[in-house]
Symmetry: C3
Subunit: 322 residues, 3 copies
């Protein structure tokens, strides 16, 4: 049977070995699709482990296997902090060496600087944890207050994708501000995978942020969101256009959302000079590319509906319909 095949006139092993040679020659021709000889890559799995450790530090007792009590909490938190510090330091170090290597095509003497910077950035981040926790506490409360379907803040913490996405964003955002390369985006895209909610770590988001349902939300890199903002599923806060792509890098491309704004499902708000004023309400499925004054309410204007009555003949099951 096997002998019929071209490729195994020799043997499957010879076939695979020649395929390996072909692939390796592809690797050599296409530098951007391989990382041969690179010692300095951050590790996606370990970066995710940091997120999971931080979740247990921020929400003690919710996601632990063992029981946490007043007696053991000190040992417990110290252990988690040690683990997090080591893992995060290593990943930050890898990211900085990776960045340096990419920039200057080699590490040279600046390698010491990476170690020093990794220590500084890791410590700077760790110090922020009590404040991150305070912000998350306000987010949890806002999520509970805003959703009649939620029965307790415990339920919000246990299973609301909105809390999961905001938690990961608040951590990634601090690392982004500390100019840690790659890790912040790996973290928020992990949350994106888990929740369907994409928040770029560069976005600025105020206190008491509330996401309801959440699937399909996109919050762009240069968004500036105030306090008390509530956003429903499918909302895009995006760029008006990114034709020209990389030419737009670093420019303000995404909207400003002032305090106390509510944005209903599937609304799309685009553009770096678009500002939704304080207390405004944006209706579901609305498409906005210009600023809205404070306190105003926006809904789709003249979209009437065609409501067609059934035909007198019995409607057949297989009849075509849109």
């Amino acid at each position: 049977m096997v002998d019929k095949m071209d490729d195994t006139k020799t043997s499957p092993n010879a076939f695979l070995s020649s395929l390996a040679d072909q692939l390796i020659s592809c690797y050599q021709q296409d530098a951007c699709m391989q990382h041969l000889n690179a010692t300095f890559l951050p590790n996606r799995a370990k970066t995710i482990e940091v997120i999971e450790l931080l979740r247990r530090i921020i929400f003690p007792g919710f996601f632990d296997e063992q029981r946490i009590t007043t007696d053991n909490v000190n040992t417990h938190v110290n252990g988690l902090l040690q683990q997090t510090h080591t893992l995060l330091h290593d990943q930050i170090h890898q990211s900085l060496r990776y960045q340096l290597n990419e920039k200057q095509g080699g590490l040279g003497d600046d390698c010491d600087q990476c170690e020093s910077q990794a220590c500084e950035k890791t410590a700077a981040f760790m110090k922020l944890l009590p404040n991150v926790r305070r912000m998350l506490s306000l987010d949890v409360q806002a999520t509970f207050d805003g959703d009649p379907a939620s029965v307790s803040t415990d339920e919000n913490i246990f299973c609301y994708p909105g809390i999961d996405a905001i938690f990961t964003y608040r951590i990634a955002h601090e690392l982004y501000k500390l100019k840690v390369p790659l890790l912040p985006r790996i973290m928020t895209e992990y949350a994106h995978n888990e929740t369907g909610i994409e928040i770029h770590p560069g976005a600025i988001i105020g206190e008491r942020f509330c996401i309801d349902h959440g699937t399909g939300i996109v919050i762009g890199e240069t968004c500036n969101i105030g306090n008390n903002v509530k956003i429903y599923q499918g909302v895009t806060l995006g760029a008006l256009s990114t034709k020209g792509g990389q030419d737009w890098r670093g420019m303000k491309r995404h909207p400003n959302i002032e305090d106390d704004v509510t944005i209903y499902p599937n609304a799309t708000i685009l553009g770096g000079s678009t500002t939704i004023g304080k207390g405004a309400t944006i209706g579901g499925s609305v498409f906005i590319t210009a600023s809205i004054p404070a306190g105003h309410r926006v809904t789709s204007g003249n979209v009437s509906l065609n409501i067609t009555p059934p035909k007198t003949r019995k409607k057949k099951r297989d009849e075509s319909a849109e």
Copy 2:
């Protein structure tokens, strides 16, 4: 290098230890973000394990490592049922003790009652499994019948996110009806994570329910959905407004969908007194906040399109566009 840092003038250990103290003091001030000394929390990982065991009981042979035959099926199913019963009983017990503890700030003598109720509710749920399986069999058939891209019901069971979401909902809904706290929502949010489809365990959904594609679907807590209903990706069956949040708890906030209705992608239907009548068809991207009579077909009315021809000059790649 390290000596440059403020935080480690002492040592990294001292820094982390002082950070731990700070965090523990935060825990004590903010009761809603911690579960110290609580013996009685349900466990998310074990709750998900129950779902995966039930999947193997409902669809024997699809998700098992070993081969299931007429000879070994009895031992196999008995084993799975034992495991499920034990795990589920423990999680229900934890949830009930947790609920009691939250209500009265301690367990007292009612603790025995939790054990008795956990046994009853677990047994009551297990007895429903043959019926849950019958319902799912109808859902699978409806999914196959309704999708020209599906080649067999096996493909539907193996890899359709719609079936995955409906399976988890049907289980969670039975636990919801038995007034088991927390677990039903943990289950459906797990399915939400996996599939992008959010079905609140409180929703009522009839026979032969069919979800096509599915990402972004939201079905709210007080929805009432009839038989033979088909729903596409991005459809929201939501509340007209939830401003005021917790004041709306327990009220009918989500629409009724009668038998034989089809709802095309990204349609939004809102409101507790909105009823889509038997056999109606709701077009894609339509936004509805009022009832639609039986048999009617609704499409977006006067949304014309601006179709602009290309300019005579060659279109440049980096030209701005919406």
Copy 3:
């Protein structure tokens, strides 16, 4: 306590054992929901393992635990190819035997043919890997060029869901063309779970394909997409109607997208005879069921917005709003 329960007047074991009998009798009555005595099912977990091995072959050094160097790359790739070949061959073999068994209700003498076909199809697929890698390299470059938020192609490969979904599609599509049953769809639905992006393995997609954000994208089985196409989150390329379901199987139901088209978020394009001409731009949230000529730009026409100023009285927090 326990004695109160009907079900355990006997014992929990007796109750579970009788439940097992009931379930087994259900299995026997409903053939489409079980796979008893079937030796020949593909395995979802192992199919996913193939995807993860191929990811490491295509992007060497990105997702490996150990460091890959010029010295060890040969051994490394040979090892991965051997593993992939064995696993994929077994899964293809299982799928072919499964298909044959389903068709003729038993394997008979054609079983040898399955083995021979599995060898041929596996080898044919493996030979395509260098070309799959070349296509992906163009996709990665297009993704980087088109997104001002991306800082390097490494970031795209590490964490962009669009690249993840396209990677899995390009592999599954080759298996689909080789008429391998079930596996291609299991693969793309795994990517759908991970990314929220659903690409049917049957779709035809040209070079330099770029997905931005991506959650909620649906690309149907009979889509034909040209080169240089860019698609944003929430876009549906779907069927005009699938009422009648299985009657439409095998027919051209999904649109054609010609070269250099850009489709903005949440646009919906439906129908097998709908063609979006070369270089056209489709605006966000547009709903299209007819062809658009080359170079044209389509936006929502007369959807004006109702922008209501705030009332003079202070807006109360719990006021109802849509």
